[in-house]
Amino acid sequence: MKLAIQINEGPYQHQASDTAYHFTKAALEKGHEVFRVFFYHDGVYNSSRLTTPPQDDRNIVNRWAELAAKYNLDMVVCVAAAQRRGIVDEGEAKRNGKDATNIHPNFRISGLGQLIEAAIQSERLVVFGD
């Protein structure tokens, strides 16, 4: 089955990203296709490469990044939600005159149209959040 995944909550504060990760990983291992993982609301924080959890805890950002690398996953962070919350790539830094970036290179920033497209193209949109 072709799936689209939407994550609406940030890491550590809320279980949504953990559950979405386990779901996505299991689906891929079973041979399902994941068309796109879309990060929205506070979910955009899942893409900060500056995330530094204690060493004995899971690293949610790196875990997503490794899964994406292994399966060539398209992981998209909503641009409007990211701008509000200070998630920045090089293009956004230039456009908005910011002096730093913080997005992990395995994620990309793009528009909400990517979410709509994913919902149209996939057989199921699975939303993780409250």
Partner: protein, 135 residues
């Protein structure tokens, strides 16, 4: 992308206090460009999103309630409101704003697409959706 799907936006949170309602609205506005069949369902505290006379300067929040009244121009054809959620909050249909809809091609027009529905109809609406965006 020729396939047309039934999109349903399920709104369950109050308009202020969290950003979900506003960021849900942003998806609806952007999604209009994709020409899908779009319905919104307001339930639980989400019914407050459509209440008339919202007054937000005191909390220094942008009052985005006027945007709901333009949704008919953004491809939204149905705006359902769960009757029990309204009643539980002491609200009636008279407390809700009205949203007009018009089809530019066929000249079909509806004065108000906001419709208060019972739970059975809400279940039907949910079951009929191909995609449910839950906010």
């Amino acid at each position: 992308m020729s396939e047309i799907k039934n999109f349903l936006y399920l709104n369950r949170r109050a308009p202020y206090g969290t950003i979900y309602a506003w960021e849900s609205l942003e998806v609806v506005l952007i999604g209009a460009a994709f020409d899908q069949k779009v319905s919104l369902l307001f339930a639980d505290d989400g019914v407050y999103q459509l209440v008339k006379g919202q007054d937000t300067p005191g909390i220094q929040m942008k009052n985005f309630s006027a945007t709901y009244r333009t949704l008919g121009d953004y491809g939204v054809r149905y705006m359902y409101v769960d009757r029990k959620s309204l009643q539980d909050r002491g609200l009636t249909e008279d407390d809700l704003m009205q949203v007009a809809w018009e089809d530019m091609e066929s000249d079909d027009a509806v004065d108000n697409i906001v419709e208060v529905i019972d739970s059975a109809k809400a279940a039907e609406v949910l079951a009929g959706a191909d995609v449910v965006f839950s906010f």
